[in-house]
């Protein structure tokens, strides 16, 4: 036998070589995948921040046009009981002409609120506010812009319902409760109103003039991110038990009146469980990303923080570990707090 007689020697991979190559490719892909995901999230975050910027400019353009900021929300029920004569509106509808949605704005009949029970015009207004607008959707949030949910104020003694398309943004109308207590170390007296004001039976009539922001427009928040739609999240976990109770009054839509009611009293963090669901309604020291319950904390699906639109038109990304005093100081417009701006 002569082994080397053949002039051709077939070149081939051994199994070990093949496995090593596959392993190396696997490791490289493993390294790359998180980077790709991070890049995708960064792009979504940028889009979200752009929405905040545009929305901030829209609010400031509204101020230029009307010499006053839009009202966060108002509801006027004549005599307190005459529901058929009620009217009300919310900031999301007021700024429509300034985000190039004039056509949609013109379909909204200002003589009526958007409520199912108050006749055909009010019903057609409900159709307007259940129009999905990508502009109000943060791409990082898991819900779709088309996810219309049902609102219902019966629990609060008002037999009215509506439908609304989601918005991931909510105004900062003030600070109160545990959050104010912690922020101001037990001395939470005085004016803790935000810039966008609540009018009517649920709020007081205060000036919406830009001159009333004595804390400075750069230091004061107009609105921030809060995951909207009909779903309640604790951290990033879907909370079905809380959703069942809260979603219809959580103000998760851009035309939902309750989207304008966001006096913040802070949230607590923790790991969600069905048995402890109601306990997550407690007020606490967390201002960002603990849950998206209205009046508790701002909420986004970005890593480590959320975007805020400021009164000078700028966009700030605040860390979820922000000190209560800092966030409270940025929400109030004329409390005169001294604080270090987060870097």
């Amino acid at each position: 036998m002569v082994f080397h007689s053949s002039p051709f020697r077939r070149r081939a991979f051994t199994l070990v070589e093949l496995l090593v190559v596959i392993a190396i490719i696997g490791i490289l892909v493993g390294l790359l995948l998180p980077a790709v995901q991070a890049a995708r999230e960064a792009a979504r975050r940028m889009q979200c921040s752009n929405n905040v910027k545009q929305m901030g400019l829209a609010v400031l353009n509204y101020e230029s046009a009307y010499k006053s900021f839009p009202i966060a929300w108002w509801l006027d029920i004549p005599g307190g009981t005459n529901l058929p004569a009620a009217n009300g509106n919310v900031w999301g509808v007021s700024i429509l002409p300034f985000i190039e949605q004039t056509n949609l704005y013109n379909q909204f009949d200002q003589r009526f609120p958007a409520m199912n029970e108050l006749g055909p015009i009010a019903q057609s207004n409900v159709k307007v506010i259940s129009t999905p607008l990508n502009f109000f959707k943060c791409p990082s949030s898991p819900h779709e812009a088309t996810e219309v949910y049902t609102g219902d104020a019966s629990d609060a003694g008002l037999p009215i319902t509506w439908k609304s398309a989601p918005s991931d943004y909510i105004p900062a109308t003030g600070v109160r409760g545990a959050y104010a207590n912690i922020a101001y170390a037990g001395n939470a007296g005085g004016d803790r109103h935000g810039v966008l004001q609540v009018y009517g039976p649920y709020g007081s009539n205060r000036s919406g003039k830009i001159g009333s922001i004595t804390d400075g427009t750069t230091n004061t928040i107009l609105f921030g991110e809060r995951t909207g739609g009909g779903q309640i999240y604790v951290g990033r976990t879907v909370a079905p038990e809380l959703t069942a109770v809260l979603s219809k009054t959580n103000g998760g839509g851009w035309g939902d009146l309750l989207n304008g009611e966001n006096w913040m009293s802070g949230a607590i963090s923790g790991i969600y469980s069905a048995a402890q669901a109601p306990l997550f309604l407690q007020e606490g020291p967390c201002g960002i990303n603990c849950n998206n319950i209205r009046g508790r904390s701002f909420h986004s699906f970005h890593t480590g923080g959320a975007h805020f639109g400021m009164c000078d038109g700028s966009v700030q990304y605040l860390s979820e570990n922000v000190e209560p005093l800092v966030l409270a100081a940025m929400i109030t417009r004329q409390k005169g707090e001294v604080f270090a701006f987060p870097q």
């Binding site: 609060a156 545990a178 170390a185 037990g186 009054t249 607590i268 306990l279 606490g284 020291p285 209205r294």
Partner: protein, 143 residues
Amino acid sequence: MRLPLAGLLLVLVLIGVGCSGRDPNRKETVPVIGVITVDGKPAESVQITFHPEGGMDQTQPTETRAMSAADGKFAATTYELGDGATLGKFKLTFKLPKLNSISMTFDGDAFKGRYANPEKSQHSIEVVSGMPIDLGTIELSGR
């Protein structure tokens, strides 16, 4: 073979020690638990406020609260659900409010303020580092 194994163990222990530390921006909290009954039955959504003796810490303000679950059980909460109370002496007050679904505040008190005054509170505790407290059953009257 002995030495690398020992080295590995040492590294693991160091990682364990390094990662177990508390958030330096947070104060130490000690679990405080108990059960609330109203007229003998476990009571849900009773709010318990921990009033620190001498007022709120001015340098690093925190507030400890708790809320009872459906079975009447509660666990003091400062930062995270059930993480406990900060150190020091507290007087406890109790309220049974209702959630206002418009303003999202807890309004009113079914006890009519009977247990809401820290000056008259019958329940005082002292929280000491490393000593979890079980307050047992706290009996309140709804009438």
